[in-house]
């Protein structure tokens, strides 16, 4: 599949934003976060900023962005519509929670309940995003059972490293404990991505050039002549191919720079609290961000659509 820049930006940026909002709501509900105004301002500006930037980026790839509101209507059947509804609904509890924290100075009690609701809504939005991909039978890689866990874990991770940086910035006691949680998430993220890559490499009975043409009874099917001499929309959108050696190199980049390097930095921060820990948390941000963008690019580039069977592929 063609890795469109807008969709990569959307899923990574809004994923990180929803992750941060989800952590804020959850930890406030557990009464672990002080209702300090500037901590709230920083966290909500960051979280909502990433979410809004991502949602705006997602409309860039639309043919008619001005009609985007129509996408809220078909939640009964469409995961994309559900994602839109969930994204809009999430703004409500997040808005109330942010107001209560930043303006009223209250994030426990009733505010914590709203925070928990904001947390659940954020998670629901990310699940809808993942299901847009996971529900497509035409793309075997995306239909993998590891697609949904991947999106959830990477959201928790990217929101988690953002929150850790904030906790270190304000030098909150929670930082140390949360640091361990982020370390666990980094290990979990690497494990889930490795499982995903192993899953999509497995030769399972998918569709073939024989089933696509129904000519398998007569023998092996091979494209002899394409329908036209030039490229077309289907080939550009669905026929993106990446060389295996490039994919392998990019996967290593994700694992080493996106997961291992931040793991070492944050582990170091656990041992050296104070300024070194803050610097380690800040340095891990661009690394995780870079890792996620490459991971998301690969998620598209490595996914093969069954329509390619009509354009020369033998198995998809």
């Amino acid at each position: 599949m063609h890795p469109a820049r807008s969709v990569i930006l959307f899923t990574t940026a809004s994923g990180a934003g929803y992750g941060l909002l989800a952590w804020l709501g959850l930890l406030a509900a557990l009464d672990l976060l002080p209702a300090w105004r500037w901590l709230g301002v920083a966290a909500f500006v960051l979280g909502l900023g990433l979410v809004v930037a991502g949602l705006l980026a997602s409309t860039f790839h639309l043919g008619h962005p001005e009609r985007a509101w129509r996408a809220l209507s078909q939640w009964r059947s469409s995961w994309l519509s559900r994602e839109g509804v969930a994204a809009v609904v999430t703004f409500l509890p997040v808005g109330v929670f942010a107001f209560s924290w930043v303006v009223v100075g209250q994030n426990s009690g009733a505010a914590a309940l709203v925070g928990l609701l904001a947390s659940l809504c954020s998670l629901a939005t990310v699940i809808c995003t993942a299901m847009i991909y996971a529900s497509l039978r035409t793309i075997r890689a995306w239909a993998s059972r590891w697609t949904l866990p991947g999106y959830i874990v990477l959201t928790a991770l990217s929101g988690g490293v953002l929150l850790l940086a904030l906790l270190r910035l304000w030098d909150l006691p929670l930082a140390s404990g949360f640091g361990w949680a982020v370390l666990a998430l980094l290990a979990l993220a690497a494990a889930v991505k490795l499982l995903y890559w192993r899953d999509i490499a497995a030769e399972r009975s998918g569709s073939t050039a024989e089933s696509a043409t129904g000519l398998g009874e007569h023998g092996r099917v091979r494209l002899l002549e394409a329908p036209h001499s030039e490229s077309n929309y289907l080939m550009q959108e669905m026929g993106f191919r990446i060389a295996r050696k490039h994919a392998a190199r990019l996967r290593r980049l994700v694992l080493l720079l996106g997961f291992l390097a931040p793991f070492l930095l944050i582990a170091l921060g656990q041992a050296l609290p104070g300024i070194p820990a803050l610097l380690a948390a800040l340095a891990s941000l661009p690394l995780v961000g870079f890792g996620l963008v490459v991971e998301r690019w690969l998620f598209f580039a490595e996914a093969k659509h069954v329509v390619t069977l009509y354009y020369g592929e033998s198995r998809a």
Partner: protein, 249 residues
């Protein structure tokens, strides 16, 4: 409403394509383009049509496959492909706006260009590549089964079939109601073992393909296989034996 019709009617209009007859002339694709560029989903935009990288929207494309059997015999199969107007159309259910819909009365799958936001998700959901994005109009387009032709009372009744069907010079394309088991197309499918494409994708396409007929065996009026000329054995015939002797010196 992009949910599939809850009570789909009995009528399932569709195409039956005879792969034994199709000669791969592309007339169906060309006439489709010609009719539809001024039809329901007009225009079928081309970009850079006379330039170095022409590209454009087509509802029907003819692929050509080579099928090689286990004994090394091969045949060429021309394979026209357009929307199969699936009963469980995934392109319809993924649509977030309700622009994609399946008609209750005849099962035709259409796009309402006024409501389409151009998110392209339907084209990702379709295993058959039936949907093509018009970047110029910013909306998705697809085969309409010539909905503006098959019901057109200004046309002669014989012409009220999709453009690809009326233009086929070989008679390889048939149009009719595949929901009616006594219709001509249904009888044809039953007689020739018509099949659906990629049933494993679970879309329940309406269109059917008729398989190429088996080749006639050699010696039975069919094409005889080449017999290798004997390299060493003495040829029959006086002249041939003399030539063989002269050349063998």
């Amino acid at each position: 409403m992009t949910s599939l019709p809850r009570d789909p009617g009995p009528v399932k209009l569709g195409l039956v394509i005879d792969l034994d007859i199709c000669v791969g002339c592309h007339a169906c694709a060309v006439n489709c383009k010609e009719w539809n560029t001024s039809g329901h989903s007009a225009p079928l935009t081309d970009s850079d049509p006379y330039g170095a990288e022409p590209s454009g929207v087509w509802f029907n494309r003819v692929h050509t496959f080579e099928v090689v059997s286990e004994d090394g015999d091969s045949r060429t199969v021309h394979f026209p492909k357009s929307c199969l107007h699936c009963e469980a159309a995934p392109c319809v259910t993924v649509c977030p706006t309700g622009a994609s819909y399946k008609r209750e009365e005849d099962g035709i799958v259409l796009v309402n260009a006024e409501a389409c936001i151009g998110c392209k998700l339907c084209s990702w959901a379709c295993p058959y590549g039936a949907r093509e994005y018009d970047a110029d109009a910013g909306v998705m387009k697809k085969c309409t089964l010539c909905v503006d032709k098959i019901y057109n009372e200004n046309l002669d009744p014989r012409s009220r079939v999709p453009a690809c069907v009326s233009t086929c010079p070989a008679g390889a394309r048939h149009f009719g109601d595949l929901g009616d088991s006594d219709s001509e197309v249904s009888l044809l499918v039953a007689a020739r073992g018509g099949y659906e494409l990629m049933p494993e994708q679970g879309c329940q396409p309406v269109n059917r393909y008729l398989p190429p007929r088996p080749k006639q065996p050699a010696g039975d009026g069919g094409a005889a296989a080449l017999q290798p000329a004997a390299a060493d054995a003495a040829p029959p015939g006086l002249l041939a034996r003399w030539v063989d002797r002269m050349l063998s010196r």
